[in-house]
Symmetry: C2
Subunit: 576 residues, 2 copies
């Protein structure tokens, strides 16, 4: 049982049979067909040689299969992590240089160590700092940036940059030297892929293909685009006519080697590695959870940290770049019928075979085809309606989302996500720092108490019942003091004030001090402070403080009890 927790493989390998293997193998073939062009494309996006993408699709997948808790998560190079890799490495070296490639290995190893460390310390909750609107704004902006960065391959021009402010003018300038033939290949591939995505599935269904076959065939469309354009490039010697091709990919498997141990390089890449790890982890876990839930299975987020971490370390020592769980590949893997993580290991085998056998033809693959593949793939990342939806639901979340989106687009991925995190924290604190509170009165004839401003209730001019609709902690402790003192200053006849705490889940040390301050200030002003409906865990904690002894009033179980004891019924000041 304990072994299973650390090595989930031990669990699913028992009872593994021929039937399960067949299903895993079929899924692996389909995912391999999808992953070969993606691996090359994401390496290109990250500014890395094509083989790096292939290497990142071998050892990491095997390691994840050993340690991961998701049966269907397809690990490997993904679009957003590749964009972030390019942004991080762009500041340390020129794309394509050996230093740049060495940086990618360090980034993968570093991300891996961070993830494993978080897993061992059970720090998965840190991923929660990335709120949904921030992630969503970030992913949409990344999708737009990725598409924009690939346009140069479609047009066959030179243009680079890590945000739209750099990219757009560079593209504009490059338009003078457009390559017509490249545009024909890239534009054609793009149009073909869009049409496949829109119509192929329904078309094949109409032709009567059974089950999920039309769906999977539509998703494998990039393979046909790759084959056709590669043949064209080879047959018509397009390279001589200015069409950029992938070029020589070293055949054979990667060799294992420690990444560079340059301390300065590691510390320079640390912030980027933290962000890549967190974003990758959040995306992987949410994909894995979605798919697991469909089969009523569970994944263990802390074990996922370790599995993804070890996979990244694997990428770092086998010539790869940072990896995480990819959304579309995992869905394909799931739909194709993968039953266990072995499907992932078999995919790695497929990639290894491709690397051994296909490097000669792949050298003729036009970069424009890969760019078209990427542009169509990231279309699923871009979710503009989410902005309107989030804005309508909550201004605060909308602001965080738009700020993340705008900063990522116009300044870059790192400042975008960091600003988003800081904003969502700040805005959350702001929101809880001014909690809703209401003076309540008794609904005549009942034990219920409601807001005096909304309902026709009984009150007493010597008694105020104040309900606070928020946990009391440092961000709102002083606001509570303000609210109470304001109330007391406004009602000179007040003798008793009851704080009703049914919505108070925490009273931290700051709020405790505020309550003590309120208690002594009210005493000075001749008003007693009482508490009512304090929850069990909160009360347990209060018993460790001096408040219960120092309190000028009492602690009542219910608001009604306080009302009765403090003369609300028949008291001199009663009024409806």
């Amino acid at each position: 049982m304990n072994l299973e927790r650390w090595l989930p493989l031990a669990g699913w390998l028992r009872g593994y049979g021929r039937d399960t293997f067949l299903r895993d193998a079929i899924a692996a073939v389909i995912v391999t067909l999808m992953l070969v062009p993606q691996a090359l494309a994401y390496a290109m996006l990250a500014g890395l040689p094509p083989e790096v993408g292939l290497y990142a699709s071998m050892l990491p997948l095997v390691l994840y299969a050993l340690l991961g808790t998701s049966a269907t998560l397809a690990v490997g190079p993904v679009a957003v992590a590749s964009l972030m890799t390019a942004a991080a490495l762009g500041s340390i070296a020129e794309a394509g240089t050996p230093e740049y490639v060495a940086g990618a290995l360090v980034l993968a190893a570093l991300s891996g160590l961070i993830l494993v460390g978080m897993g061992i310390l059970r720090l998965g909750f840190l991923a929660n700092f990335l709120s949904h609107p921030v992630i969503s704004g970030f992913v949409t902006a990344s999708g737009i940036l990725i598409a924009a960065s690939q346009l140069r391959h479609i047009f066959g021009v030179e243009a680079s940059g890590h945000n739209l402010v750099q990219l757009v003018p560079a593209l504009w300038q490059g338009m003078d030297n457009i390559s017509g033939l490249t545009l024909l290949i890239g534009g054609g591939a793009w149009l073909y892929l869009v049409l496949c995505r829109r119509h192929l599935r329904t078309g094949l269904q109409k032709l009567g293909l059974p089950g999920q076959a039309p769906d999977l065939m539509a998703k494998a469309a990039p393979v046909s685009a790759v084959i056709v354009t590669t043949l064209l490039a080879w047959g018509f010697n397009l390279k001589a006519q200015g069409v950029e091709l992938v070029g020589k990919v070293p055949s054979g498997l990667p060799s294992l080697a420690m990444p560079s141990l340059d301390g300065e390089l590691w510390s320079t890449l640390l912030p980027a590695a933290v962000l890549i790890s967190l974003v990758g982890f959040v995306e992987s876990v949410s994909v894995a959870q979605t798919l697991a839930a469909k089969r009523r299975q569970r994944i263990d987020p802390n074990q996922e940290l370790i599995a993804l971490g070890v996979a990244n370390i694997g990428a770092g020592v086998s010539g790869g770049s940072p990896v995480s769980g990819g959304f579309s590949r995992s869905v394909v893997n799931f739909d194709a019928g993968a039953v266990t993580p072995l499907a992932g290991a078999l995919t790695a085998l497929g990639i290894a075979l491709s690397t051994l056998l296909l490097t000669t033809p792949l050298a003729f693959l036009p970069k424009a085809t890969l760019a078209a593949t990427i542009i169509v793939a990231v279309g699923t990342l871009i979710d503009l309606p989410a902005i309107r939806r989030t804005w309508a639901y909550s201004r605060v979340d909308g602001v965080a989302m738009v700020a993340t989106l705008a900063l990522t687009l116009f300044h870059g991925v790192e400042s975008g996500i960091l600003t988003g995190v800081a904003l969502s924290l700040g805005l959350h604190l702001y929101r809880t720092s001014q909690p809703h509170s209401a003076v309540v009165g008794r609904v005549p004839g009942t034990e219920h108490f409601r807001n005096v401003e909304r309902h026709n209730v009984e009150t007493d001019r010597h008694l105020a019942l104040l309900r606070v609709d928020e946990s009391l902690y440092f961000a709102n402790a002083r606001y509570l003091e303000d609210t109470v003192l304001e109330l007391v200053a406004r009602r000179p006849e007040l003798r008793d004030l009851v704080l009703t705490c049914q919505a108070v889940n925490i009273i931290d040390a700051s709020a405790l001090e505020s309550l003590e301050a309120i208690n002594s200030r009210l005493s000075d002003a001749g008003v007693r402070l009482h508490l009512a409906e304090v929850k069990g865990p909160v009360m347990d904690r209060l018993k460790n403080s001096d408040l219960p002894h120092e309190l000028s009033g009492r602690i009542f179980l219910s608001t009604y009890e306080a009302w009765q004891a403090l003369g609300g019924d028949g008291g001199a000041g009663k009024s409806v």
Copy 2:
């Protein structure tokens, strides 16, 4: 009425009479006696010439009197702000140089602008980021650092540093060149002040002095120490014997001048100015609120921001250093009977007269006396029992407090407070990211529902009622998903799941997406999701989302209603 809000003076000046004036004037005389040595001492602590402390006690006090809402807050140079000023200026220039003094003016003006800006934008809530344990740990550490930094004046040695790691070895080395006469003066003054603080008040009370006179006389003890040691230094020409004196203080009032407009200097000092503003504001407001509450008066925190800001700008243009409300001086002002802010303006007049008349004798004041005054004064800042108290109440708050204290002592004021703020935010999020939740069942024969693990309640194997004791927001959205999916994976017979939301004060966009994800995942698994006891404001917001339409189940007013509708009563799966 509106005029009064921006110029509180307009309010209290109406009906101002001879009697009120007399009371304000008496308070002003007493506070002036206390402030003259303090102004010199805090200037010395900040590494500034003595006149800077006096200048900071003139114009700022008048400006605060015009704009402040507290009747009794005594504004001027204070210990903690002086320590922070020294730490900030230490990195830009040598203490005592013209650049150093120019930096102090910029720091005051910058703090003033920040405070006014926060006041206009009503950002007073930002001060809430400083939790009580962080402030308390910081103030205690500052008190220890201040006392340690003043020991060199008592021993008459050279030693400087901004944390104990620098100060202690420097003091130790300096011990070779101790000045016996200085130690006699400093040690004597310290002993005298300690004895006065401990015994003078009760002694005078026993002698039969009426009312608060003994108390106020005990607080004015530093004045007698100043007079006696000044006379000794003058009579025995102590300067010739190696006792450091205050030296020449320019006579006359400060001239108005713009502080340096060097952009680089401003941006270098910005982070320090932010911290000085926030700490000063928090301390001022808490003192002002404490005193106001005793007379059932109110202060307006946002107007205080403006008043303190303008006072600091005043310090910046009249040769002063950053100012804020001082705790002990304000208490003396209050006890001495100050009725309106005019007492502050009259104190400024007293300081101005002192500056005109007393500079010749003050030149003979030994620095050791001032150091003794400071060391005794900061004794009130150091609150070590608070550590034990906070730790006993809450580990999380205790960790934040100890970390702030230790980092301030051993690394410096800025890293101390920043770490404290980051820690208290992080720990708060951690605490709310794993909220308490409970599966509840019906207490037989009632409409009450309690935790199934703690009470003997009715349950139904097809129905789970889950109560979440926390607002749902990004930090715990994924935890909620985990909790729900875990529950569903564990109970294969489940058909309906009800989330009971009486403790949910907010559902932010992240939590909304999590609920939508939970809803669709449960649908995939054949379980309906319901909500119960959703609060009014939360429901209003949910109506702007798609959740109510997409929800596979219903939204019930009460848990009992859900229980009845979903077959808890008499359902096939019922059991007690």
